[in-house]
């Protein structure tokens, strides 16, 4: 963390866009590896973000190292986009001591203070409850100068009362907080239209009087641009912004999940809008990516995931004498 002010990625130029494609491929490969492990009985379930990779990638790319992130149960993308080591993440999923949380978290609450991914909670709305406090500390001088806070949550979380409380506090206390709602249309086993109006999330957020933008969450360039603007605005005036990213949860809620309850046509429609394939097509059309380049990228990703798996599986289990470590400070 030498230059805190330099964004992890700086521009909308070719190398940054290729980098973001590679990030999305990494997220996909990582999560598919977890699915395989689960199917083999070698790991418990996880919440994957297959189909949502552009959300994590685009928003996190717009943040600086001095910024902080809060996330939830579906956090793999956010962590990897932030630069987390897939090996330590996988070790955590497998419950090993080299995991980011020494095996205490498992897949659902991985955080890494160093990376600025803090206080991950799997209580839906937990991240929303803590985010204003992190932003308040930032505002009161406890973070890196100029830093802001981004909080990722789902459309389901927006139904919890804490959503409303967090928005009101952030607006009223003028907290440097970016709300990022990944509206993936599902709330575990319930389609969101079963529990809220179609335009509910943006409209609820607007009721709080802060700037709200809805973006195609499957277009990483669009997500990046919107997030960059929002982040700049927050840095400029210190006040919160709201992004709704329209996307879709393509796998089940939690592995394994046969999705018997999902409308096949809807699923297929969104599969056609895959954020990774879409970006590959776009970069190809623009002449920025060729077959060799893509293959090399995929190769690098595969190698990282293989190495990660080896690392994770080689990591020791915690010993039972450490059962009560970390409870009290």
């Amino acid at each position: 963390m030498k230059d805190l002010q330099s964004p992890i990625e700086t521009d909308t130029g070719t190398s940054a866009r290729l980098q973001r494609l590679e990030t999305m491929l990494l997220i996909r490969a990582y999560e598919e590896q977890l699915v395989t492990l689960q199917q083999q009985g070698a790991a418990g379930g996880t919440c994957t973000s297959v189909g949502q990779e552009a959300c994590a990638t685009g928003v996190v790319a717009a943040l600086d190292q001095r910024d902080r992130i809060l996330t939830n149960h579906r956090s793999g993308g956010h962590l990897l986009a932030r630069g987390a080591d897939p090996g330590r993440m996988m070790a955590e999923v497998l419950g090993r001591i080299d995991g980011y949380c020494a095996g205490r978290s498992g897949s659902l609450h991985i955080s890494d203070r160093e990376l600025g991914v803090v206080l991950t909670s799997t209580i839906v709305g937990g991240e929303l409850s803590m985010a204003p406090g992190v932003a308040l500390a930032q505002k009161m001088g406890q973070g890196q100068p100029g830093g802001i806070v981004a909080v990722f949550f789902g459309d389901g979380a927006a139904s919890e009362g804490i959503f409303h409380e967090a928005l009101n506090l952030a607006v009223h206390w003028r907290l440097p907080l970016l709300f990022v709602c990944e509206n993936n249309q599902w709330q575990a086993f319930v389609h969101r239209l079963e529990t809220m109006a179609d335009d509910a999330i943006a409209s609820w957020a607007r009721g709080h009087g802060l700037p709200v933008q809805s973006v195609d969450g499957n277009d990483v360039d669009a997500v990046y641009a919107a997030a960059r603007d929002a982040v700049q605005a927050i840095r400029a005036d210190g006040q919160p912004r709201f992004l709704e990213l329209q996307t879709y949860r393509r796998r089940g809620h939690y592995e394994p999940d046969d999705q018997f309850y999902v409308d096949a046509t809807e699923l297929e429609t969104w599969a056609q809008r895959d954020p990774i394939q879409g970006q590959i097509d776009r970069l190809r059309q623009q002449g920025l990516l060729d077959e060799a380049g893509l293959t090399a990228m995929q190769q690098r990703v595969r190698e990282r995931i293989d190495a990660a798996l080896t690392f994770a599986q080689d990591s020791p289990w915690p010993t039972t004498e450490t059962l009560t470590d970390f409870v009290y400070a």
């Binding site: 095996g103 498992g106 839906v124």
Partner: protein, 339 residues
């Protein structure tokens, strides 16, 4: 008799009670998705997917219960009850009293808990004792499929709010459940413990997954000619105090075993019961073998290590019979886990 899992037994109970009483309805995040047979048979008015908002699910249940319905709400995992706490503790638990008896709150709140799925402490937290401490609520936590069915049926019929905790590790275990339609025989009344194994030397009191731990320990103890009596509390509130006291008066020795942490937990209550009301009969220190005062870890090794094991129960029982000793609050403290 037929074999079914605890989950199937719960489903059967729901179906039977919805059949019997048109006021029974099922609310929760995904209940309609997961129970589409109930939607088919009882209609989408009575089986409702809710918004993802536990506080309003529980509050709605309280309001509906006081107004003539009998809601069953599925709050998924016990830690999510923290969002529903006001509705359960301050409304459902108190407003009968506070209104001078004007309202009743016949509702059932379902929640899963306990180790077995490596999901970590925000899904796995045995907080049943918190609700036992709160006035006006009833709390049950069965250990076998027949009781999952019978207690759920009784809970639905009870005029008070009942917290029904399902131990995750037991949900897919099978057991014998009586066949036939509902004629009351399959009810398990709230407040009645079950003696799972009779014995004369030491009383093992437990509930949920650790009942099996105690039975296994009793089996091992039998080989050492120690006859352990195993009591499955089933209801944590009302607690079957007489069953516990009767057994302790007979054996003179008491070991309480559960997965929840020890401080102000059920084992504390049972130990206190013995120390206050069966002191004269006690021939040795009471022993508590409980989970530690720590959140549950996700890592399989640690998750399992936090659950008291049969070996620890056996060792404690043998020690007691050898003449009493100072024993620990949690399974961890004395390294019983090392077994």
């Amino acid at each position: 008799m037929t074999q079914m899992t605890a989950e199937q037994a719960m489903h059967l109970a729901l179906r039977e009670e919805m059949q019997r009483d048109p006021r029974v309805l099922l609310l929760g995040e995904g209940v309609a998705t997961k129970n589409n047979d109930l939607v088919r048979d009882f209609g989408s008015e009575r089986v409702r997917n809710t918004p993802l908002a536990e506080a309003i699910i529980a509050g709605t249940a309280a309001g509906a219960a006081a107004s003539g319905l009998r809601p069953v709400i599925d709050l998924l995992f016990a830690p999510f009850l923290t969002y529903a706490m006001d509705a359960l503790v301050n409304s459902a638990g108190k407003l009968r009293f506070m209104s001078g008896g004007q309202f009743e709150f016949p509702l059932v709140a379902l929640a899963m808990t306990g180790s077995g799925w490596n999901v970590g402490a925000q899904h796995n937290h045995n907080l049943e004792a918190m609700f036992v401490h709160a006035p006006g609520l009833r709390v049950v936590m069965p250990s076998e499929p027949a009781d999952f069915r019978g207690l759920l049926k009784a809970a639905i019929r009870d005029p008070n709010p009942v917290l029904f905790f399902a131990d995750m590790a037991l949900l897919y275990q099978t057991g014998e459940v009586a066949e036939g339609t509902d004629d009351g025989d399959h009810l398990v009344p709230l407040g009645k413990a079950a003696v799972r194994r009779p014995g004369t030397d030491v009383t093992l009191v437990s509930y949920a997954k650790t009942v099996a731990v105690c039975l296994e320990a009793a089996e091992q103890l039998a080989r050492q000619r120690i006859a352990a009596e195993v009591i499955d509390l089933r209801s944590l509130k009302p607690l079957d105090e007489q069953a516990v006291l009767k057994s302790v008066r007979k054996t003179g020795r008491l070991i309480v075993v559960h997965e929840a942490s020890g401080l102000c937990g059920i084992a504390a209550e049972i130990a206190a019961l013995a120390a206050t009301r069966a002191f004269d009969a006690l021939r040795a220190p009471v022993v508590r073998l409980t989970g530690p005062d720590a959140p549950a870890a996700s890592s399989a090794v640690l998750e399992q290590a936090a659950v008291p094991r049969a070996e620890a129960v056996v060792r404690a029982a043998v020690d007691l019979l050898r003449g009493g000793r100072q024993t620990p609050v949690s399974a961890v403290e004395e390294g019983l886990l090392a077994l």
